[in-house]
């Protein structure tokens, strides 16, 4: 029977990826000094499962590396080896390499062999002290190939001298007695021996059956056991009392059952969490069939049936087992959960199309609503009721469709425990990472774009923010710095904060650095303005350049990326208390919070995130500067007034600033006052781009469709501010020339 194994590859990939993630988070969380044995076991189990799967599906590179890793972890969890940082590091590194290998099997770049070799060596070195009880991997690996390695267990009552029995067995091949029979002990300790022989298993069984009563011996063919034998037959040595059926977590062990229980009841032990676990297969002793052994978590290892993550007996083994399912059945059930938590992958194009259509529906519905409102409410009661029902349904539909694009920010946050750990190690700092609000959802489009800027901020906080333990002690702070990542919704935006309790930004340092770089600064600048300087290109206050950060590329890129997403970033900082970087993003890329404004007869939309305030100025607050237009004084600040009507050459009688409304907007730390006729209201807009059918228009960032079906244009505040600045510079230049 041949199986197309590749149909299960995806399941294996998914599961392995899950195991790797699991292993990594456990490794990161573990307390090196006092590791919880639960955790150690869980880590081992993850590695073990990966190995089992990899071997089953023929990914030998994965299996080999995991094998070495597993050996090491096995010793750690058995307390044969103290857990050390080195071991954790090496394990994390193994996880990384395994991920790369996995990627390779999924069609990515192959992994550098040399790196794997180096890592394997490292893992082996780490596992050397205390490597006594466990067969070395080199031996274990080809164990399956050794002909006829039989494990023989003898239970009382033994009708003949045990020594004579050993002699007879030794005649068949080389015999290694691992444990003597002790009938006096309670419970009785069975004799254990390892026989390497050319003779087939059945012959040995026959011979023993001739000499002993059937219930007092057991022969297990090594080949069928787990291929490396780790942790199996070393058990009796470790637990001579012989009554240990399983390890604490109960897996991977073929307990040598005492005679009393070893009789005919084929015991199957199950782990608490449901992994099938097999007791020593004390099948009817005379059957002597090479018994199958099972891996604990479902990747069946035994040859012909190995396809399914199956736990199943060889058909001939008459095991009165509950919970044993035929491999076919198991295979079927195993695919379903592996296929990705009941989710389907859909291209974002389709989701966007859906979003578009729903947007249309909402507009159509609001048109209907408008027409309906003109009707007599008694005469058309049914129609009006239906319209309001339609309204509710379409709103709900819109929300549901929007939520398709939303993903929890945990997808971004999850990488940081590792980043922080690695960096802290590199920088010799002690840092605790706290993450709050990982389940906050945001647009999928942001998830990918956020990870780089956030990583940069985290690196910065670790490198420049949090001080070394000595400095912290000197300042009377806890030696371990605290880095907090927090995400939450606020109004129509999502806020992400990166907070450290480090040294804080140094105003004087930033100012002097800014002067050096020739930036226009003054000592009277507000803190916010000073902090904003670090977003200037080429600005770095790090005393020295480290390979972590400080090259001065970055913060400007961070801000650029955030602004490109329609968001903004703010800093608040206090010396020796810490720094908080706050990123504000709109909830989704497709929907924008905006203020609709009216200029003459035309409606425009102003993105809300640029707006600081709007005001109706008094005539006395307006000043005209010859040749430079008008400025408005807002709490002592003079801001240039830009007439949107003029900017967009709208034919309308020129209005006086004191008759219209000024909206103070800020972009790139530049504030200007936009002059408009009327504020219509604040709402959410579906953003459409103009370039799809037309081209980019200066001063516009896109378009949206209003409730009445008309198109309104979205102002590109950043561009308007920039152009105003250029114009001012240009005029200054012309003025100087004259």
């Amino acid at each position: 029977m041949t199986f197309d194994m590749s149909q299960f590859h995806q399941v294996f990939f998914d599961e392995t990826a899950e195991h790797l993630v699991n292993m990594e988070s456990l490794l990161l969380a573990i307390n090196v000094q006092q590791p919880e044995s639960e955790d150690l076991n869980a880590i081992f189990r993850a590695a073990h499962s990966i190995k089992g799967g990899a071997a089953t599906f023929g990914f030998s590179d994965l299996a080999e590396l995991t094998h070495v890793l597993e050996n090491l972890l096995d010793k750690v969890r058995k307390n044969e080896l103290p857990l050390s940082r080195d071991i954790v590091d090496a394990s994390l590194l193994s996880g990384d390499l395994l991920k790369e290998m996995l990627a390779f099997h999924r069609g990515d770049e192959p992994v550098d062999e040399a790196r794997i070799a180096v890592l394997k060596q490292k893992l082996e070195q780490l596992s050397v002290p205390g490597a006594v009880a466990v067969p070395s991997p080199q031996v274990a690996q080809p164990a399956a190939a050794v002909p006829g390695r039989l494990h023989i267990e003898i239970y009382p009552p033994v009708a003949m001298a045990v020594d004579e029995l050993w002699q007879r067995l030794a005649a068949l091949g080389s015999l290694q007695i691992m444990q003597a029979l002790d009938e006096q002990a309670d419970p009785v300790i069975p004799a254990l021996a390892l026989l390497s022989t050319e003779s087939p298993c059945d012959d040995v069984v026959e011979m023993l059956a001739f000499l002993l009563p059937p219930e007092s011996f057991k022969v297990v063919d090594d080949v069928t056991l787990e291929d490396d034998g780790v942790g199996f037959f070393s058990l009796p040595v470790m637990a001579p009392s012989g009554d240990i059926a399983f390890e604490e977590d109960g897996f991977g062990l073929f307990a040598p059952l005492p005679a009393s229980t070893a009789s005919h009841n084929a015991d199957i032990a199950f782990e608490e969490d449901g992994f099938g676990l097999f007791a020593p297969l004390p099948v009817a002793p005379a059957s002597g069939k090479p018994d199958v052994a099972f891996e604990e978590d479902g990747f069946g290892l035994f040859e012909p049936l190995a396809t399914a993550p199956a736990v199943a007996p060889a058909p001939s083994a008459p095991m009165p087992v509950k919970e044993v399912v035929r491999p076919e059945v198991r295979a079927a059930t195993a695919v379903a959960p592996g296929a990705g938590e009941n989710s389907i992958r859909v291209s974002t194009d389709k989701v966007d199309l859906l979003l578009n259509l729903v947007g249309e529906l909402v507009i159509t519905q609001s048109m209907l609503m408008q027409y309906g409102s003109a009707l007599d409410s008694v005469e058309h009661e049914n129609l009006l009721n239906s319209i309001s029902l339609l309204q509710r349904n379409s709103r709900e539909l819109q929300e549901a469709v929007m939520s398709i694009r939303m993903m929890p920010i945990a997808f971004v946050f999850n990488r940081f425990p590792r980043v922080v750990r690695d960096l802290a190690g590199k920088l010799d700092k002690q840092v605790e990472l706290k993450m709050v609000g990982e389940n906050t959802e945001l647009d999928k489009g942001f998830i990918e774009k956020l990870s780089d800027p956030l990583t940069h901020l985290v690196r910065n906080s670790l490198d420049h923010g949090i001080e070394s333990p000595e400095q912290r002690r000197a300042k009377g702070k806890k030696e371990t710095g605290l880095l907090t990542l927090r995400a939450f919704h606020e109004g129509g935006s999502i806020v992400i904060e990166v907070t450290d309790d480090g040294a804080g930004l140094r105003r004087d340092k930033i100012l002097s650095k800014a002067r050096e770089s020739g930036l226009p600064v003054s000592d009277t600048m507000s803190d916010t303005e000073v902090w904003a300087l670090i977003f200037e290109p080429g600005f770095s206050t790090a005393a020295e350049v480290t390979d972590v950060s400080g090259r001065g590329v970055g913060m400007d890129v961070v801000r650029k990326n955030i602004v490109a997403m329609g968001g903004r970033i703010d800093i608040s900082s206090m010396v020796d208390i810490g720094t908080t970087m706050t990123i504000r993003l709109p909830l989704t890329l497709a929907i924008m919070d905006g203020m609709s404004i009216k200029i003459a007869d035309e409606t425009y939309v102003l993105p809300l995130n640029y707006i600081l305030e709007s005001l109706q100025p008094k005539p006395s607050e307006i000043k005209t500067i010859a040749g430079r237009g008008q400025v408005v004084s807002v709490r002592g600040e003079y801001l240039p007034i830009i007439s949107v009507a003029e900017y967009f050459t709208i034919d309308a009688p020129p209005t006086q600033p004191d008759k219209s409304i000024l909206i103070i907007v800020e972009s790139s730390s530049q504030k200007v006052a936009l002059m408009v006729d009327e504020l219509l209201g604040q709402q959410q807009f579906v953003v459409k781009n103009l370039e799809a059918n037309y081209r980019k228009v200066e001063g516009l960032s896109g378009a949206t469709i209003m409730g009445d079906g008309r198109v309104a244009l979205i102002l590109d505040v950043a561009a308007i501010v920039r152009m105003n600045l250029q114009k001012a510079h240009g005029e200054l230049l012309t003025a100087q020339l004259h």
Binding site: N356, L357, G359, E360, I363, E602, Y647, F648, T649, I650, K688, N689, L690, E691, A692, N693, Y694, R695, K696, V697, E698, G699, L700, A703, I705, G709, R710, V711, A712, L713
Partner: protein
């Protein structure tokens, strides 16, 4: 260049097969365009004016959720009577994966022509640059100017696309 080669192919195809063309009026002349490029014909709705655009670009409309620019060919070629009323016709074109609406004086009919019916265009004084004219279609007494609408709409002078996009066409 790409467009030119495509034309050559098209005309060789049309030698045998008969194709359908939509005929519209612009001033006193009749123009024909490949009907497969036409998405729909609709009335003139309120457009949203685009600042800093040439005068013949009237603005954009919401066409079932898509933002579609509207060009007024009457203004572009300075013909006809530029008024907007219930009879003003907009031909929505689908060219080069884009949607564009063009205002014309009127749509008359759909004609079927084979390649033989289209004569090479002599240098003549049509309002349109001869670069965009494929030839003259003769149907009985009528003479219809066959326009390569894709070439026209992607041209610099229509200013409907960013230069980079147009260059890739």
């Amino acid at each position: 260049m790409g467009v030119a080669t495509m034309d050559a192919n098209n005309s060789s195809d049309t030698d045998k097969a008969r194709r359908e063309y939509l005929v519209f009026a612009l001033g006193k002349e009749e123009y024909g365009i490949d009907i497969l490029k036409v998405q729909e014909i609709r009335g003139y709705d309120a457009v949203t004016r685009l600042a800093k655009s040439p005068s013949f670009i009237k603005g954009v409309i919401n066409l079932r959720g898509h933002i579609v620019p509207i060009v007024d060919m009457r203004i572009k070629f300075d013909v006809g009577n530029v008024i907007y009323n219930d009879f003003t016709v907009v031909i929505i074109l689908n060219v080069l994966n884009r949607t564009v609406g063009m205002v014309v004086d009127g749509v008359s009919d759909v004609i079927e022509l084979s390649g033989d019916d289209i004569r090479p265009a002599p240098e003549f004084g049509a309002v349109m640059n001869t670069n965009y004219i494929q030839g003259l279609g003769v149907v009985g007494e009528r003479m219809i100017i066959m326009v390569d609408i894709e070439k026209l709409m992607s041209s610099d002078e229509m200013a409907l696309m960013d230069a980079a996009v147009a260059a890739n066409v």
